[in-house]
Subunit: 442 residues, 4 copies
């Protein structure tokens, strides 16, 4: 092939400069020659701003990479080699609803977990299945690298409801955990290795190694010595763990586990935050505005450092690293979302899991985990059940199935509250949920 | 063998007359010649009362069955053929604590679910493992029929931590569901067949048949038409289901599922009830007093009808029916707690499940279920994780393990509340939890 | 429904009188009102002979059962309730080839095992899949009771390559083993229970019970005391087992296991027999001629005792018993071929196994087996691999796939002999293997 | 640690110079400071010859590595870091019997397959379990790198019957296949990657990659174009495959698969060879004599090129490479024998498999395979059954269990021949099989 053609759907995102930086950094080994940034008409303005910045960055780097901006997705997909997705159906407005409405019912409002995660899945899955269908037609040999959230549910849906085999779901949580631990220990990140296993936003570090030595127990002890856990995500309040609980667990949870093991405390924090700083969506909306103001500056020709505050740090770099390993058949180990195939015992073989994989030109091959620690197996299974029912609801548009998904989510306190939440949230997102409304109206 | 020797541990229980009635009813096919009612010294008064009634019942029936009363467990176990267990460590006093303490933290207080179920398991498992050890020595060929709650956790512990193979856990919930449906439909119970699968107090009716025809969907529709579900247990408030949720599920939950799918409503009910009628334990304490007053009547020589209000209806009859099928190699189908052995996919093979089994002289053989419906699989797995961690805590007396069990229980809202609950409840039950306290004090 | 409509494909078979006898015997509980005997034009003469006998049998019995004879399969299938299949593609002539050709290469010649079994599968599977397709259209609620051999491979093919769910494969080997043991012990067969598990013609009795007591070890000891094993099939020479081998195994093999564990001796026997009495096919051809002569007798109105020599004894009775249990939702236990669904560990869930099942109106539900004894697990897996590859070859008509199937069969000594055998046998059966030849000729 | 202490049991083997060469080559990254060559008294002469050569090699290399020669195994094991085993119980004499006796019964005579493999396992397993026991006491943190054959059965036995967790079984077949393909294609071996999965001496290359591109199909086509397969082992006659068989399989078999898929041809070859050149053992005995003559040369201070003819090429290098990756936590991929843990579906989780693993300081972690191709799954399962029964026989010394193992081996034609073979071979190896004879004699 004469260089790689890459297509980024949701290319007008504020994350794009990180992606471009990642390609520039790797240009010697990863010969991307065309990068198509694709967005919807409503996002054209942002696409132009960020596209212009991308072009300036490439020009400054002096590498042979053509940036194309397009709102014609099918045209862009033709003969692509890699397709990445980073769109948000309904934009930050929808996120604000996902975060805000549940709070009214004393339920956690979060964009990838609980009711918000369900609704985001219902909106996103039909779109991603359409992309998968287009790819099967227009670029059947391309890899789909999805980092649209909720990435677990989305990958599950692609594996079960599309014919696309070459799909990998990607998340920045594992890399964030590794970076956080490295920083905490004051060592370079590449000396840390973590055995990741679980689901997206529900991943555990089963063992943590420093230079190959297992330091899990020591880390768990240090990790919980103070109020702050150290391994945090910028967008999740860090409440600390009950020392005896985390010592009993003796594995590394991910930041999102706080929603499940500290539900009540997280809810209080969210409610406080909503009163003062607004929901996370509102905070992010402001951050985004500020970023695009920066991006407009015609003298800016590098990724501005402010982007790292945005919460999705490492995302695009993880994507570049994954694409590099596939393209160059590196055989290195990366945690991604892929078909379980028996790697984690007790989870269906054809379900998506987030697990360390050997990355080859043939795709990710999961490293065998066996049984998850019994203490966390149950919660992982429950989220997998939720994801599967949610994906089915997204595809069928069946109201009762959606209600089952909402009710079995562990953050929802009862079938009655589930129904109230579902009804209000379906209505609020009506414009992006044709599968639930069009048939009724027809 | 010259007739069957049966031993009932916890023989002073108010349920014993139902057991005796069951033996009298089946005396032609089930030649029990000795029934040893065993209790602890503190229960001797009740043992004498109920034992005297049992003797009057047998005398009236005119069958060759000797009733022995004993507080020497090991003597009683010698050469037994069947051992049943129906004791409650700490008596109803302990139950009152299990139900009452959680309510102070706005958490469901229930004796076999949530924090109460955990503490009951921690108290009960060491005792039952001691019985299993005695049996291995004194009556190695005997069957242990356990209906001491939490029966799922207890059976799990016996399977994992004892050498006893001949153990069956028994519960009256399935038979109660069948009776309830029969009553609702106005048909004889033997025309109803239900495909039971799940865990103890977490069992589902996957399909319900009337004369072999699958009526599940119709039943789910009728079942939720009004406010009352019809399939209720006397000791659980019947709140009704959200119609669209239960239709989406399209299987029959058991009464205890309300704690998980209607958590918030159940909590409110419990709190109301505690204010007025007292906790369930308090209600039962009164019932028990009344029953024992009745039992003292020297003219009473049958099971008094008041016993059926007690909440454990069918329990002893289920035990007699199970013993009959084992003894006579009937090959009929009964739902019991036994080793999974692959019957339910995704649950460890050596874990206890509650599932329809063919009952033979060789014990119960589960009928293959395959995967549980995805919507309920997650919750079942979560409870199994909880049961396994709880059983480990009961055996090791490890505080951190107990805290993990408490925290991962889906009825407990956070690690912090878990710790508060555990600390207060361990202290409250200190006298019955030597494994947690003796080593510290030593 | 106004009585049952039953269709028997291959109705001109000499076995039909046993089937009719079975229906007469059960007429009170199993109200079959129409029995359609269907055959191909080439079999019309036999159909008329056996059909006339069937009518005389029904008339004598005085029951309301109409016998219909037809060579129009689709007309017969319309609105059927039960369809049984007992046809042989290519008739006894084909069987003679399956048995004779392998002997030329010093390979076992047998109609359901080894090369003969493969070729019989290649001829039969396309026909049965056509029947399944017709049924889906003409009688979608009917049960297909298949006892056309090789029944394991055929059931596997239906499960994997048709949309028919209501299918049961049936074999008379388990019932024959049970009868044989009962006879050997001098007890009634209903006092014997056997835990059957494995594959068709590869089934083991894991435990044998007399009145519920496990007598396996005693039986294995007695069973091999002399030269004759006692548990024999009329059509398989009984060579006896090496005592220490069978004691080490400590389970009950089926008669066909001799082909695998005594390959060389069986081959010698077959070669001897072929020289003197002819192959089994030739013997059967004579038996069949004799039977049809008998059937022509207009005074004959019962099943003639000579039929029992035919080798397929109990087959039709097993079918009637199965249909009775399905129709009447008996919940009794019968060994049949059905979807594994996890009953036997290590065999794919969607593969056919032969295993004890509870028979209900909803079909057979396998009793959980867990792992097969390790000593036999390997052979069972190897035959399952063979069956799966063979079924794929039958459906695709792919020569290489057929050669793989032939080579991996444990009775075939090498890839080279496999090729020679396959080439000669494909050619010999060319007329019944359009999937392998038509595309070449086109 | 102050450098690595390594112990090689069977250190007097002719392979040792390759091992020493491997250590010299890697001395910069793998600081082995002590190498203990251990042998039995009967092997002391050879030990001294090869030990002297080893010392000359180290001296020439000028590295700080002390060579110790010892016949006191326990003294040598004290505080070891790595233990490798390369001994042969009964020496080449025993091998000659394993190869020769079966031929008398028209059965393949081979040292790691069929009857020879069984007897070698029976002799070797008790010795290796003793070593494992010593290690648990004397060097509990050491890794056992076993390349004593039959390595699959031996690893299975260690996993099931010892408490040693840190064990890896190693074989030179995979590396030989990779080298062979590289040579055939005229490329460097490190450009070839193969997805290995199966069992020891029963391993398949599921996919073969050149620079990350899947070339399996092309390779299978080329691979069988002529009479010679190209991917051969020096000690196995290369007979070529039936083209349509190997194309139908479409994966890469290992050289030992010829024993199973070309049984009859291999037997003829062996019988021919035995008449002329002698069995392989006899050939090797001569080779060994010649090698030791060379080794005696006081001027020889490098591994002589003649060693590569010996048949075990790459063995010791594979061991050094494995030890290097464990010590340095390389995370590279190597095919080794380890606990399955779910990597290959359908094989017990606690059984040994030979599969590609990521090699870390924590040991090998298998890459998930899922289901093996159905065509080969059956044979793999059969060999695993054989290995498990054989390991049990080796540990228990039970005659009947040994006979079951012999009979179920696919290279043995019947239970009767199995018994004759077993009786003659047990007797021939009596001195090395105390578990079968001592109790009888006692």
């Amino acid at each position: 092939m004469n260089g790689i053609k890459m297509v980024t759907i949701g290319g007008g995102s504020s994350y794009t400069p990180e992606l471009v930086e990642g390609l520039i950094k790797r240009h010697a080994q990863l010969p991307v020659r065309e990068l198509w940034l694709v967005d919807i008409p409503a996002g054209e303005e942002k696409l132009n701003i960020v596209g212009a910045l991308a072009k300036r960055m490439v020009e400054k780097a002096g590498i042979p990479l053509d940036i194309h901006l397009s709102i014609d997705r099918r045209a862009a997909l033709q003969d692509a080699d890699f397709v990445t997705t980073q769109f948000r159906v309904g934009l930050l407005d929808a996120r604000a609803k996902d975060e805000g409405i549940p709070l009214k019912y004393d339920v956690i409002g979060q964009e990838t977990n609980g009711p918000g995660g369900l609704l985001k899945g219902l909106r996103t899955i039909p779109v991603i299945l359409n992309i998968a269908k287009d790819m099967a037609e227009l670029c059947p040999d391309a890899w789909l690298i999805n980092f649209t959230n909720p990435a677990g549910m989305v990958t599950e849906a692609i594996l079960r409801y599309s014919r696309l085999n070459k799909v990998v779901g990607l998340c920045n949580v594992p890399i964030g955990m590794r970076m956080g631990i490295a920083k905490m220990l004051g060592v370079e990140a590449d000396r840390i290795h973590i055995d990741f296993a679980g689901l997206n936003h529900m991943v555990f570090g089963l063992n943590v190694y420093l230079d190959g030595d297992n330091i899990t127990e020591k880390l768990v002890d240090d990790y919980l010595s103070g109020e702050q856990s150290g391994v945090s995500m910028r967008n999740i309040v860090d409440l600390g763990w009950e020392p005896d609980f985390i010592k009993g667990l003796n594995i590394l949870p991910c930041p999102y586990h706080r929603y499940y093991y500290q539900t009540e405390r997280m809810l209080q924090e969210e409610k406080e935050a909503a009163k003062t700083a607004g929901t996370r969506a509102q905070v992010v909306q402001q951050l985004e505005s500020d970023l695009f103001e920066l991006y407009k500056d015609p003298d800016l020709n590098v990724k501005p450092p402010q982007l790292e505050k945005r919460g999705g740090a490492y995302y695009s770099d993880a994507a570049c690293s994954l694409i590099d390993s596939i393209y160059n058949d590196r055989g290195d180990i990366q945690p991604v979302n892929t078909r379980n195939n028996g790697a984690i015992k007790g989870i269906p073989e054809d379900s998506a899991v987030e697990v360390n994989c050997v990355i080859t030109k043939d795709g990710p091959k999961p490293i065998t985990v066996g049984e998850l620690p019994v203490a966390v197996n149950g919660l992982v299974q429950q989220i997998k059940s939720f994801e599967r029912v949610a994906a089915e609801a997204a595809v069928t548009g069946d109201y009762q199935t959606a209600l089952v998904a909402m009710t079995i989510n562990p953050l929802v306190p009862s079938d009655r509250v589930a129904k109230q939440l579902l009804d209000e949230m379906l209505e609020a997102h009506r414009e992006h949920l044709p599968q639930f409304f069009e048939k009724v109206e027809a």
